[in-house]
Every structure is written in structure tokens, then in C-alpha cells.
Chain length 286, copies 4
């Protein structure tokens, strides 16, 4: 709550809700200028994601990369808090939309933010090396400078690299392969694939062991090549993971389970608080 | 909270979280049996939705219909509570995932349930007419019986038909056209397009004016043709609308607005409660 | 989406948002007619809950019962999906409000609905026996009839009775004791304590073993004595459980844990889907 | 996702979910060491909030201050995104818990964070002036330094001061009066009331007009006097506002409204995107 923006007092409801995304009249719906009935059956769901968030239809090669990145992150099993939450929620008697919302609500800075943070890192490196052809030494220096900047802000784990479960994340090399192909075909610059690999190389050198690019680092390369601003990258991950949330919520719905907690019936926690005690004397009555 | 299922006490955490969706080992991720790196770049996002929720890859024509339905429902503007919620939430200082969750959490029985309810209606009609070729009279009778059954349960508005804003919903005829084409090509049965149109005809006859099929009635035809069970239909709508939620949340984020309520600064409500009054005498001190 | 209510088109934003709860002008806030500065320091938080939801301040004895019921349900440990969700969410990097929302979002019909359902049951029994002094036989018949009605609707577990963890729920007898005392003092009717005990007696007779009243059955007695309509009872449980959600979210925040899933690192699920397989030949390229 | 904490791999589920808040055995529930049946009927709901979050029961005067702060922030009408969201959600056909979660999910850094940020500010000032008796000049210098520090971080609106709707927030002076009284009685130090007023004085001097303490500034004084760490202050605001969310959700439920958007039926937004256009030629078929 703060001082009033001067403009607010004089704005109409129409201005308050202005948007460049959708235009509507009775019997007419247009997204970004295109009639909905022209889009249906002519653009893919992934292309629609691009149109809605970016304002224009993507180049077909860009659309393919976006499809690939959206496919790659749908699910990481009940180990992931998001997926566990979707399954738990459905057993609590809420709607499937509420279960999906519960999953998505967990994709915060730690669980869902690495892709966004990684694209910000790639963009920062790209800004340092400027627009010309990427000189190897300048790239290495820019990468080192940005990793150092993260460390100074207390960020030990470079977002997009290393994985606590997968020694090598099987999704990353495949996504990079597709980016390389698109770059070879001139559909994207390939600049961010270079940057991503330079980060990976630097981390290996720094730590003396591979810290391979993970799903967030690889989808980050795709999203950066496609020009998505960082906050949209979080959103794209949400769209992808929502598919897994739906599949798991539905599977759990079929199970008929009720009130599913983390593990079965047995008491699951260690109590570390004060031992049993009595209320202070002045409360003991009543 | 209820009596213990006998089985629960003896189940291991592994059994507690059993799933047929994802298999994982360090360095390996498989969805429904397919290695993730085989899927990336080879199946579309919509096909992935199908694989994850149904267990098998869709026929290419089925995939096209699913794309069309997912494209059709992405957004209905800030008029829709879901979209308004996404925009309001982002101005409250939460993450983009929280804003999307806020939107999705609103897709309840009333706002997001018509598709699901409509597929249930179509399925009930289909069950009445059985598997043989659809005889026109039997179809009409089955439709009348199911509409009557809804009315008996107090449901005045047949889900999937009529729209409070669009006299004719521009999305419906286009979706039906695609279903007809797929049916002509033998990719789907076309049975549910017939049923949907029979419901539309019956409603027009009953009310003496057209109550045209809307987006939910038309995506319902698509989903029923593709064999999606009703609760998944709600989930598919959620996936679709999530795209609009993301686009609007991001547009609002760029606006820099803070604490955006329904309309601008002016007081927006009529107070209908008791007039100003004083606390009972025994509370007046202090 | 449905036909337009005629009235909607002609309503102003002020009418759209009419409320009897709060009146506001610059520098003035009144709840249910009372100036906020008169309430602060003179009514308890529980009394404020009553005033906001019911429109009037409670009798002091009613306020005490409400306090007792709100105290009783704050927490049931990480076994409860709501509490587990609060803790998991906070490790995902969302705000403490988002973690609390994640918890509360899980208090659906199964996890949070028993109190509401139980009050509906008590009210149905009360309606059967009418307003006069409760005759023991008529009470027993009314209870039997309503339990039979639940069974006919497929409800095996009578809401508010039996517990999968506690052979006897320690919260129930204490709450009943307080209701008895308030009834003896004439502050409440005691009618619903009778009804609750009659349900308990009937279930024991039916099953041949005690199915004791649990927290939902006992808070249900309190809420019914106080005249709360069933949907508000769910809301009161939400307010109570929110306290536990906050305490657990904060404790987990201090732990510094990241991405906390159901249990530690080891793979936690059994895969039951198809064995590893290859994509159909026509997708294998790319 | 990051490197594995070494410890994680070897932790049991019991350790994974350790807590000092609740101890439970079949038939036994203890909160912070106290048996639940001892607490019920002997501590108020606000005292329970304190016990659960802080680990000990509050001093009676501290409990009164906490009650006052919890009472003060319950509702700010449908102008507030949280309250509007609760009302909109319930008309979408979700449960009352989902509607409350939708409200609470909006209490992010901007909408719900000012109290937390304000307590952090007060604590920073307190740390500067140290433990001795507060010398007026040192206090003024400490306040000026911390306001300058906020400005350097780009924070123009000092959290807890000024209000876009209320020229003077009626809740603030009343809360301060209660703190003064408790300080006079020796129940709290009164140190943070001094700091809050010093911030107010400094802002008035800087801006040449009063920027009075608002609800967040005043509850911030209460919470800081009571020693609540900043993240818990957000949580306390959530608990308070949940009461308003419940009252409004229930009132809206009774209205029977469906799919309630920001304002009634009329189109509510200005479209600012591209004019109507056709799909690129290569998509026009199909």
C-alpha cells in the first residue's frame, strides 16, 4: 500500500484492464490480431504458446525447438515436490485444477527458478561479449566474470548445471543437439549454445570434475536462443511441468487413496521439541 | 480421516508412490517406457500431453485434433476470473508460477468444469444408443432423456451450450469442421460430433431459439472422440488456459502496477450491512 | 459460461461488489457497523472471526467455545498432507504466504471437509427431532435414519467418527466437556452434544466396537451449538490449521532445506508402467 | 536442483521430517510439549498462534497485543486483490478452502509484505542504536541512515508508512496506544514504538507533509515489540486476512453468482495490440 499513482484516480475500468493479447466482441475473438478460428487447426499448441507470450508466430524451426524444450521438462516423478503435491492434493478431495495449482504453486525460485536464473546468466554473458563473432578468450573471460559475480552474491550452485540425482542429465545433450542443428540451418544464432558450453567447461575446470549442464541449463539455451525474457522462462517450465502434474493427479485419482501424506501410516517424524510439560499454574484450571 | 486401510500399514514408501508414468534411474528418464531423449525433438508438446495422460502416443490425426482443442481455449480476456486473477496476483509481488497457480485454482466446477460435464453428458448419450450405427430417432431420444436427467438434478444450463457473451461462439464451428474431416478420413468415429449436434438441435427445439454449442461443447466433442475420460478433460482445459494466464501475467508484470484490484482507485462497493454502531457497553472500556 | 442473467448487464461495479461486511471511507473502516479502532484491543481474535462471519459479536461463553475449537485443530504433523505441503512448498523458494496457501488448498472434501459434513449430519438429525425436548427414542431413530441415509449415498465412514491413527482422539472428550459446561450454564442448548453422543453410541452398536468421536465430530458439536452453517465450518477449520501451516513453514524455512520431496534422496517409487520401448519407426528419425 | 547434500543420502524418513512443534502417538498429541487437552479451553486462539510459532506461551500482556494486531488487519474490502480473489474464486465453483487459498496466495511481497519489511527496518534501526537507553539524536540518525539505505536499494515507499486510500489510517494510532500502555506497564520495552514514531517524523520532515504510519507500520511495531522475526510477521498478516477472506467467500457463496469477473458483463478492457490480420500464407490452408 502506497501513495496513489496520480493516474490511477482518473483511469476507467477499460484502461485499467488494457491488453495487447486478446480482442473480443460478441461472436469475435482475436489473439494478437488473428481470429481464433484462423488459428485453430493451423498452428500447434506450442506455436500458440509463442504467439500468446511473444506477440508473433514463431519461425517453424523456432517452434520445433520450443516443442522440444516443453516436452523435456514435463515430469521428474514423485521425488519432485511439485509432482508429490499434485498427487497428495487429489487425495484430499479437491478438483483436478486445484491439484494442478498446488503443484504449480511450488515451482518457486528454488524448484522452478533455475531456468529463469540460467537465462539471466546467459544473457549477462552475452551482454559482456557484445554482438560480434564470439572470440573464444573473450567468451571464457565473460563466463568467468559472471560466475564470479554469482559467487559474490552467495550463489554456490550455478543455475542450470549439476544435478543431485543424475550424474549426466539425459535431456541436456539431446536438446543441445537440436539447437546445434537449428544453428547450422541458420534458424538460430547458436550463440547461447556456445555460452552454455563455455559455462560447463569453466565449472569443470574450477571444480576439477564435470558439473554437466542439466535440464534447466539446456532449456535455458533453447529459450535464450529464442529470445524469451527470463520471467517467461519460468512460465514455460510451468506449462511443461503442468503436464506431469495432470498425469500424476489423474493416476492418483484412479487409485482412490485418501489423505495421502509423504509416506504410509507409520509415524514419519522425529520430535525434537521440549519434553512433555504442564501448563503454568495460572492456566491449569478451567 | 477414517479407519485405516489394512494394507496401508504394511506398504513401503516405494509402493506408496507407485506410478506407471515415469521410470527413473541416475542418468535415465523414461516416460511410459520411452526414453526422454528419444521423445525430445520427435513428438510435439500436444503429443506429449497425450502420451503422459493416456499411456500411448496418439495417432497423427488425433494429435492434430488435440492441438486444435488446446489452441482454442487459451484465453477469454480479463472478463474471465482466471485471467483477472493471474493479472491481479502478479501485481501483488508473487512469482509468475504463483500467479499462474492462482489462475488455475479458479478453474472450478463452474469456471472450468463445463467441458468435463459435457463429455460426461456425451458419454451418457453414447451409452444409451449403444455401439451400432446411430439411428436418428434413437439418438434424439437418448439426447432428450439425458437432458431431462440433467433438469431433474436441477441443472438448467446444459454444459457446453449457450454463452453469456457470444451469440455464436466462433471456436465451435471450426472445431467441429476439423472433427468432421478427421471422421471422413476414418481417424475418429464422428459419433460424438453427431451427439453434440443432436444436443444443439434439441435445445433449439426446446427453447424456441438457438442455444449454440460453445467452446466447452466443441472441445468436449474433440475430447470424447479421442476417448479422454471426463476428469482429464478438465485438466486439458487447465493446460490450455494456463497459456493465457502466463501471457497475461507477464504483460501485467511489465506494467509495473501494484496491488491491482478489480477496478481503479475509487471505492468499488456498496455497503449493505448495519449502520455505524457502538460496541456493547461491557466492551467499551480498555 | 451460460445465458446472461438479465440483471447483470445493468449492474454498476458498486452493486457488483456489494457487501454487508465492511464499510470504508478515507480514514474510516467499519466491520459489521463497528469502527475498527473500537474493536482493536476490545475483542479477541476469535470474537473477530465470529463477528466477521456471523455479523454480530458472540456471547462470551460462545466465544470461549469457539476459541477452544480453533485451538484444537491447529496441527496434525507432517503426516497430514496440508502440513507436509506447507513444509515442502517453503523449500521450493516461494513466499510464506504461498506455502500457507499450498497447505490450505489441500483442505478439500476429504482432508478438510469432515467437520462441515458432520455439522450437516447433526443438523439433519436435529431437523428430524424438531424443536421440543429431545426424547431418547426419537433421537436414536433420527440418528439411525440419517446414518442409513449416508450409507445409501455410499458413505461408509460417518464423518466425525473414528480415526485412522488415534484409537481415541484426545481432543474430542475435552471439547465435549466444555460444551457440557456451557450448556449447564445455559449458554448453549447442549442439543448437539446429545446428538453427537447418540451418533457415537449408534456406531458402536452397529459395528460392535467403539468408533469414537474424533476432532471433526467434536468441533462439529461446538460449531453446531454456535449455529455456524456447514460451509463456514470448513472455513473455521482452515483458519485453525493455518496456524500449524505457518509454524511448520517457518520451522522448515530455518532448516535451509531445498526442494524437499516426500522422503530423502533415494528413489521413492515403484514403476508399474510398460517396459523400455522404442518409438514407432516413423518417429525414430530426427 | 543441485549437488547432493552429503547428509541427505543417509537420512531416514523420520529425520527428514523432524520437528519441534508437535509430538504424536496414538491417542496423544502434544504441541511444544503441552498436551492438547490441557491447552483446549485454557489458552486463547491468539495464544495458540504464539505458542505454535514461538515455542512458548506468551505473557498475558503480549497476548493482548497480538490479539489487537490480528484483529486489526482482517479485511480491506474488495478493493484489496486478496479479498476480490476470494469472492471471485468461490463463484468459480471451488471449495471454500480453495477460495481462501486463492486469497492468501496473493499476499506476496507487495500486497502482504509491508509488515515483514517494516519489522526488518525497525530491527535494523534498533541494531544501529544498540541496547542502551535510546538517545533522541542517535535514534534520528539511525532512522535517517536506514531510510537512506532503502532509497539506495531503489525503495521509494518506506514500508509501513503512507496509504493510497486513507489520509490517516485509523488502525495505527489505536494500536500504538495499546503498545504505549503495555510499555508503561513494563510488559514490552516500548523501544519499537519510539522507532516507528521516529520514522514517521523523519518522513514528514523529508517530504514536507505527513506520511502517517499505516496498518503495516503499526502491526510492525507490535510484532517487533513481541520479538517476532520478519518472515513470521508475513504469516501473522496471512492469519489475520484469512478471516476476511473467509467472511467474503461465504457472503459471495450465498449470492449464488457464477464466474464473477472484475466488473459486470460489459467488456472491460481496452485492446492495444495489432489490428486484425491474416495468418501468413503458408498457414492459411487446412
Amino acid at each position: 500500500m502506497s501513495d496513489v499513482a496520480e493516474s490511477e484516480a482518473t483511469r476507467s475500468p477499460e484502461d485499467w484492464w488494457s491488453t495487447a493479447i486478446i480482442e473480443m466482441k460478441p461472436g469475435m475473438i482475436r489473439y494478437r490480431g488473428y481470429a481464433v478460428e484462423d488459428l485453430i487447426g493451423r498452428v500447434s499448441f506450442a506455436e500458440m504458446v509463442y504467439l500468446m507470450t511473444r506477440g508473433e508466430l514463431p519461425h517453424p524451426e523456432a517452434a520445433k525447438l520450443l516443442e522440444a524444450a516443453l516436452v523435456a521438462a514435463v515430469d521428474h516423478g514423485p521425488q519432485a515436490p511439485s509432482i508429490a503435491a499434485a498427487r497428495m492434493a487429489i487425495t484430499c478431495g479437491v478438483g483436478i485444477n486445484n491439484a494442478m495449482a498446488s503443484a504449480i504453486n511450488m515451482l518457486g525460485d528454488v524448484h522452478g527458478g533455475a531456468g529463469e536464473q540460467c537465462v539471466a546468466l546467459y544473457n549477462a554473458v552475452a551482454a559482456r561479449i557484445g554482438d560480434g563473432p564470439a572470440d573464444e578468450r573473450r567468451l571464457a573471460e565473460a563466463v568467468a566474470a559472471e560466475i564470479a559475480a554469482l559467487a559474490q552474491r552467495g550463489i554456490r550452485h550455478v543455475p542450470g548445471f549439476g544435478h543431485r540425482f543424475h550424474p549426466r542429465d539425459p535431456r541436456a545433450p539431446r536438446l543441445l543437439e537440436l539447437v546445434d542443428r537449428a544453428a547450422a540451418a541458420g534458424a538460430v544464432s547458436g550463440r547461447f549454445a556456445l555460452i552454455g558450453r563455455a559455462v560447463e567447461a569453466r565449472l569443470a575446470a574450477d571444480k576439477g570434475r564435470p558439473i554437466p549442464m542439466n535440464i534447466d541449463g539446456a532449456t535455458g539455451v533453447v529459450f535464450a536462443e529464442l529470445g524469451f525474457p527470463p520471467p517467461l522462462c519460468r512460465g514455460l517450465f510451468v506449462l511443461s511441468r503442468s503436464v506431469g502434474a495432470l498425469a500424476h493427479a489423474f493416476e492418483e485419482l484412479l487409485s482412490g487413496e485418501r489423505n495421502k501424506g509423504p509416506i504410509p501410516r507409520q509415524l514419519i517424524w522425529t520430535y525434537t521439541g521440549p519434553p512433555a510439560r504442564e501448563l503454568p499454574r495460572d492456566r491449569a484450571g478451567g
